[in-house]
Every structure is written in structure tokens, then in C-alpha cells.
Amino acid sequence: MNELRVENLHVAIGDQQIVRGLSLAVPRGEVHAIMGPNGSGKSTLAKVMAGHPDYQVIKGKITMDGEDLLALEPDDRARNGLFLAFQYPSEVPGVTIANFLRAALAARLPEGEELEATEYYARLYEKMELLGMDRSFTSRAVNEGFSGGEKKRTEILQLAMLEPKYAVLDETDSGLDIDALKTVAHGVNSLRGSKIGILLITHYQRILNYIVPDHVHVMVQGRIVRSGGKDLALELEERGYDWARDGATEPVLTR
């Protein structure tokens, strides 16, 4: 089955349990949004999928196209086709975007094969244009001294270049003004298609006006409490997370 699948996931950091029995499936070709208030465990979910060492999975499964992700190192997950756009991307001083992406792409090639430089730069420039990034950006060190918007664009640039099977976008909209948001959304939309499944994690409905999801899930206190179509986001915006939280205690009617 071609999907990114989470089953009954329980996650803790130290003594504190953050994700409590979460299940979710994002098939390739679809865009799913997870909405939730601060502290609901959204970012934890994203990091656990990518294999962050600080979190312990107590129970549950995560699979990608049927393959057990939890058994793999973070870099194996990435090379197998999982991409995480970080909410707070790290700086890598002294390493240019061009060199960083080149190393990341080279890591995906069979041993002995090398990246073709001309093709690589042609593709890089094409994707940068799509995201409204100046070419001079390639020679800047990854995220070093970048504004919030520049960091988010750089994440999407990497997504576009690495062509994963599944992408988790963690609060990619946070800290963006409306123009930057539109550009980033345009970039993500241009990548949509049958080859990629996207999980969009957000606090606000706003980005979903530009990246229209196929499904919306509401996450509260470490679980999905409601799932629905794109209209659920609007309803949530109107009625607030309290409504969604209350809904969690009611018999689940929605799907």
C-alpha cells in the first residue's frame, strides 16, 4: 500500500507522554492537513516520523509504503523518501545551500556514481525561480543569518530538489507574511501530484486557503479528534479548538 501510515502511536519525551494513540494514513497523491493548538503534539509527531533521537516511541507503528520506519536511522528514512520541512531549521555555518543540496543528492546515488554538475545547477536554478529566490542564495550558508521567510523557502527548495515520496511540512506557514506565504504555497502546489503524499502541519487555517488539502485532521492532546474534508478547517476556524476538543469526548460521528 502506497501510504505513510501511523498506527496507535504513543510517544514520550522523558516522563512526559505527548502523543497518545494517534492513527493516520496519508496515501501518495493526497494532501492531508493536521491542525491543532499549541502543545497538541503536532511537531512531536513530525520529529518522530523523521527519527529524532530525543523522543521515545512507547507503542505503535509508523510505516512508509509498508516498510517499518521506526527500525531505520533518520538518514535511511530520508533516503527512502521521507522529507521533513522543519519548523525551526538548523543553521549549518560555512556550508552553502548549493553544496549542502549537492551532498544530499549525492548521498542518494549508488556508490561510484557522481552528480552531473550542469544538470544539477540547471535544476537548482529552476526550482529557485519557482520559489522567487535570487540565484545568489546558492552561495549563502544554509540558514545562517536567514530571516524566517528565507528559512521556510529554503526548506521548500530542498523539498523540491530531493523529490521525496512523502513530505511532512511542520508549521511551514509560521512567521511568513502574506506574499511569502503565497510564494511558498505556490512552490508546494507545483509539487503536488500522484507521486507525493503531503502532510501539512499547521496551527492556522490561513495556509489552507492556498494549499487546499484533500483531508483535514484535528489533533488535540496527542490524538486525532476529528477528521474531515477541507471544510473542516473552515468550521474549526469558526468554532475554535474547544469545539474540536469537546467533540473528542462525544461519540465519533465524523470521518
Partner: protein, 455 residues
């Protein structure tokens, strides 16, 4: 002879081999006056050198180990077990064909003859105690440039040699400079005549082959008025269980308006104690630049310095130290401002990984009476007296964080690749100032070091 076409490549795994060699000259283990006389006889030293050695021995024995400020690990050196002089007894050859087969094979495995053909103006190759090969390109020799081993230098060019030898770093500078004075052998002697600019680097390669051995090369470089020279040293040793000692002394003299650039890319195995004294003397308007990359060794103690003796003299130290698991890099720089309008610049970056330790010690001295001196030091210990002297302090410390490594792994890089890219990035602004061949080499060394550091 077929050689592979590859870039400069002196890496640890390539260096980790040794041949069994019969040494015609062997001073045995331990150090006494007898050892000194054995070495002096073997090398046919002039009397003044023999006396210099004996004074060195006396000072060495008198001085305590500097463990009141330095690592107690120095106590692990057993001076009685070390072999102080090992040589074939032959003079250095001028062509590789004349170099004995085993030794030639060593340097071929390390890629030296090939580099020489590619981009060097001259090469000296030292195997244990003595130079086995030294040669400069004809055109460079015709300009009057001298590039020979120290033994040959003191014999064939006594006037210039003796004038500066031991003047920049006196015997009693420290315990290990005294030890070097006692048993020195090998190292380079370079003289560049006035106005001559040596376009390509001169390179020396120091190879330790024998176990329990101490290598004590002594290098003296004199750049006469208005001349320029770049010198590069590389070092390797095989990995032995027992300790090996490398204790060199390097003296540079840049006369009026001359420029010397001295580059070290050391890649010692983890059993080597590397205790080196390096200092330059910059006369009026002269410039001395040390580029010092310390990778490997068990303990390195090294603080290249420049004495800015003449007006408008400039001194610079760029140093990179990478302390991997179990290693200690105790490095730094010294700048002694001794004239007006002198400037100095120190940039030092150290990285420690796992249980590795990187220590920085810096000294910048600007006496009270001087005017218009400038210094920049990234991690300084500064003594400044008087006014009108500018001392700038730029601290830029960066660390390889777990979060950064995770970020890079998420892009598909293995942990080792991520570490290597991160460390290379951290030192990138310094490495960019190196000649290209050496920046490529350093990058590879860091990669290899990182591969070894993660499980």
C-alpha cells in the same frame, strides 16, 4: 612506473603501514652524553654543533616537564625507551631513482613524487632521522634558492646557517626545544636570495617509520630582503601500540620586506606525542604567516609565534585543531609586538569530538612604549600596555550540535557525512585562504577522521 592520477592525498589509512628497514646508524634507546656523541659522530658535526647539542642536553635534563600548566599526559613519555637517531647513513638523494627501494615505496604510497611533479617547486623527504631525498626544480635553484636538509645546510652553507640557527628559538626556550637542540636531525634549511619570489611551494614530508622512535627535525628558513616563499610540511606515522615522540623546532627569519608563509597539515596517528616549537622573526615591513592544521596525535602542544621586530612588520596565525576521541590538541599562537606600527592577526578554530579535548592558548604582547600596533585574536589572552594600540577581540565559537546533525541526516546524509560537512563548514572561511591543493587535502582528512569517529 605507473601512478594513479589523483589529487593530493595524505590520509591516515594510507599512512598506516611501515617497512622493516635495516638502519646502519642507530643510537639505541635512551638519552645521555654518549647518545649525543654517537649522533655527532654519525653526522660528522662540526665542533660548534656538538657543543650546541651538549648544551641542549644539559638544559633538557635541568628543566622539569611543564606539567604545572600543561597536560599530565606528558609523564607517559618514557625518555629512556625512545630511540633518538635512526638512519641509513647515506646522504640525501637528488633523484627518486637513487632512493632505496623500500623507502621510495613508502613515499610513493604517500603520493609525494607525484605531487612534486604536479605543483611543487621542491621537495624534501625525511625518513625517521634523516632526509632521504631533497631536490628543487632547476629554475628555482638557478635563482640561488637553497633548499636542503639541515645537516647539509650547516655543512655547506655555514655562514648563513650559523648566523640565524638557534637565534629565534634559543636552546632554553622550553624543555622540548632543548631536547631538539640536543638530538636534532633532519628538517629543512631554506635560503631565498633578495628579491626572489618562489612561485610554487616548497614541501617537506616527515615520515616516522620505526617504533619507539623520536623524530627531532630542525627547520630554518631565511627569506632575504624582498623575497617570498611558501613552505609546506606534511607528516604521517604508522599506528604503533607504543608512544612515538615528534619534537621539532622551526625558526623563520623574514628580512626587510620579505614574506614567508608556512603551512602545516599534520596527520599523526594516535600514539604520537607532538611537541613542537615554531617561531618567526619579522623584520621591517616583513610578513610571516603560519597556517597550522592539527589533526590526529595523542597530544599536540604547539603555539606558532611571530616576533614583530621591525616597523610595520605583520604576523598572522590561522590555526585549525580537530581533537577526536582520546586526543588532546593544545594549540594556540603568540604575537610579540616589538616595534611601532606592527600588526598581527590570529584566527583559531578548534573542534572537539567525543572525549577529544581542544585547548587554546594565546599570547599577544604589546609593550607600553609602542605606537599604532594592531592585533585581532579570536580567543585571546592579551597583555596590552600603553595607549594608541588597538586590540580587537572577535570571538566566534561554533559547535556541532546534535540538532544540526539530525537536520543534516534528515536530508539523507549519514551521521559521518553530516559531521564531516559540518566540521568542514566550520573551518571553511579559514581553509579558503589555503592554497587549493592543501584545502582539498584538509577536507579529505576531516572526512576520514569523521568516518572513524562514529560507530
Amino acid at each position: 612506473m605507473k601512478t594513479e592520477n589523483k589529487a593530493v592525498d595524505i590520509n591516515r589509512s594510507i599512512g598506516d603501514f611501515h617497512y622493516k628497514v635495516d638502519y646502519a646508524k642507530d643510537a639505541g634507546s635512551g638519552l645521555s652524553e654518549k647518545t649525543i656523541h654517537y649522533i655527532s659522530d654519525a653526522k660528522e658535526d662540526p665542533d660548534w654543533v656538538r657543543e650546541f647539542r651538549l648544551r641542549g642536553l644539559k638544559t633538557f635534563l635541568e628543566k622539569p616537564l611543564p606539567t604545572h600548566w600543561a597536560s599530565k599526559d606528558l609523564e607517559a613519555i618514557d625518555f629512556d625507551k625512545i630511540r633518538y637517531y635512526l638512519a641509513s647513513g647515506d646522504a640525501a638523494k637528488r633523484t627518486w631513482e637513487e632512493v632505496p627501494e623500500d623507502i621510495k615505496r613508502t613515499f610513493e604510497r604517500l603520493g609525494i613524487p607525484e605531487q612534486e611533479r604536479k605543483f611543487l617547486a621542491g621537495v624534501e623527504a625525511q625518513f625517521d632521522s634523516e632526509a632521504v631525498y631533497s631536490n628543487i626544480k632547476k629554475a628555482v635553484g638557478e635563482q640561488g634558492v637553497i633548499f636542503v636538509g639541515s645537516t647539509e645546510g650547516l655543512k655547506n652553507h655555514p655562514d648563513i646557517f650559523r648566523k640565524w640557527f638557534g637565534k629565534v628559538i634559543p636552546i632554553a626556550d622550553n624543555k622540548f626545544s632543548a631536547l631538539n637542540a640536543a638530538v636534532f636531525s633532519g628538517g629543512s634549511f631554506i635560503y631565498v636570495p633578495p628579491g626572489v619570489k618562489v612561485k610554487h611551494p616548497l614541501q617537506a614530508y616527515f615520515r616516522i617509520n620505526a617504533e619507539n622512535f623520536g623524530q627531532f627535525e630542525r627547520t630554518l628558513i631565511i627569506a632575504d630582503e624582498g623575497s617570498e616563499v611558501t613552505y609546506m610540511e606534511g607528516c604521517t606515522a604508522p599506528k604503533f601500540e607504543t608512544t612515538t615522540l615528534h619534537s621539532a623546532v622551526v625558526e623563520l627569519v623574514a628580512l626587510k620586506g620579505a614574506k614567508i608563509q608556512y603551512i602545516t597539515v599534520q596527520n599523526w596517528s594516535a600514539n604520537v606525542f607532538n611537541l613542537v616549537t615554531k617561531r618567526g622573526l619579522a623584520h621591517e615591513d616583513a610578513e610571516i604567516k603560519w597556517i597550522d592544521c592539527n589533526i590526529g596525535s595523542r597530544l599536540t602542544m604547539k603555539y606558532p609565534g611571530v616576533v614583530l621586530k621591525g616597523r610595520k612588520a605583520r604576523g598572522e596565525v590561522l590555526s585549525i585543531a580537530l581533537a577526536n576521541n582520546g586526543q588532546h590538541q593544545d594549540t594556540g599562537a603568540k604575537m610579540i609586538h616589538a616595534a611601532d606600527e606592527t600588526t598581527s592577526n590570529i584566527i583559531s578554530k578548534s573542534i572537539s569530538i567525543g572525549t577529544g579535548r581542544a585547548t587554546y592558548r594565546g599570547l599577544v604582547h604589546v609593550p607600553k612604549h609602542l605606537k599604532n600596533c594592531k592585533n585581532t585574536d579570536t580567543y585571546p589572552a592579551i597583555t596590552v600596555r600603553g595607549t594608541g594600540n588597538a586590540v580587537q577581540h572577535e570571538a566566534s565559537v561554533s559547535q556541532v550540535s546534535a540538532e544540526q546533525i539530525f537536520y543534516m541526516q534528515q536530508r539523507g546524509l549519514t551521521e559521518a557525512q553530516a559531521m564531516s560537512l559540518s566540521v568542514n563548514g566550520f573551518v571553511n572561511d579559514l581553509v579558503r585562504q589555503f592554497p587549493m591543493e592543501y584545502s582539498v587535502e584538509l577536507k579529505r582528512l576531516i572526512e576520514l577522521e569523521m568516518e572513524g569517529s562514529v560507530g
